[in-house]
């Protein structure tokens, strides 16, 4: 009989716990700082430089292109995350598929050195 443990792996509890910790850590500021606007630190930092060195002119170098608005910017960040997610998912899909085709014991490209 196939058990839940076999299907999901024995780390189900550990994974669940890990995900909960991550969500709590990320959600915590939303609760602790109800009035925050959560502006990117990159932008906040630039403002501080303007205070520290009011005469400094950052205009000597400009981005060759910048998104026309926050919506386009969000889209590009989403694109970046999507590309990354695709790479991670593709690799895991391959590894998982390979494992299901071949039993784990012959998982290794160099079989004999890996399993004695």
């Amino acid at each position: 009989m196939v058990t839940l443990k076999q299907v999901t792996g024995k780390n189900l509890i550990g994974v669940g716990l890990g995900v909960i910790i991550i969500v709590l850590l990320i959600a915590m500021p939303l609760v602790l700082t109800p009035n925050g606007t959560f502006v990117g630190t990159d932008n906040v930092g630039s403002d501080v430089i303007r205070q520290l060195a009011p005469t400094y002119d950052s205009g000597w170098a400009r981005n060759w292109w910048s998104p026309p608005g926050t919506e386009t910017e969000s889209m590009l960040f989403a694109l970046q995350a999507a590309v990354g997610g695709l790479l991670v998912g593709y690799a895991f899909g391959y590894f998982k598929g390979r494992k299901s085709v071949r039993p784990a014991s012959v998982d290794a490209p160099d079989n004999e050195s890996a399993h004695q």
Partner: protein, 252 residues
Amino acid sequence: MPNTRWIRRLAPVLALLSLIAFARPAYAMPPQMHIMEGFLPLQWAIFWWVVALPFWAIGLIRMRRLIVEQPEQRLLLGLAGGFIFVLSALKIPSVTGSSSHPTGTGLGTILFGPFIVAILGTIALLFQALLVAHGGITTLGANAVSMAIGGPLIAYYLVWLPLRRVTRIGIAVFLTAFVADLATYLITTTQLALAFPNPVAGFAGSWFTFAGIFAVTQVPLALAEGVLTVLIFKALQANASAELRKLGVQEA
């Protein structure tokens, strides 16, 4: 229980971190990841480019050698790069009311070492500089030194290599990712403090205030990144143990 050993060992570290976390300086530069285009004076922009160049060169040589000698590792290489892409695209709210993002460099550092990560991280920085206008070309050297080179280098040599055989692998992975993330922000702050020292307190004075604010914003994020990296690493151990062994990350 054998596990309490870790709690005992980690207790001083946690105590120190919470001490930093609750020290609220009156004035500080907020921590940040990318220095925006034009926001470093020319001489500093050139300086950090020059610092970054040898690491990029070594990184390219090592990456080429890896792909030639172990072509099957390309998938893991893509995975490590993809992980950096995803995590550095996620702007996560912090307790100071601003947003910051994780780096994702810890995983690649563990798998391939800091030099190959220098290349992977710089690719993500280039994408953000050219397409999203976050960071820039003049500040690419500085941003690479903090996120793609310095953070991974510190985490690899001060955390991963010393701990990987001493502690349980999960703890070593967690602390490596945690330190790579935090070190990145500390280096960026150092770069900014060098270029724009506080007129009153000077470099050293402002650096310690920066470090205080850091902890508040970045420690929860770095903790979350550490936990996520452990989850991914465990999944790799379960599914790609052959690759991990060949990279020398996992015992045969």
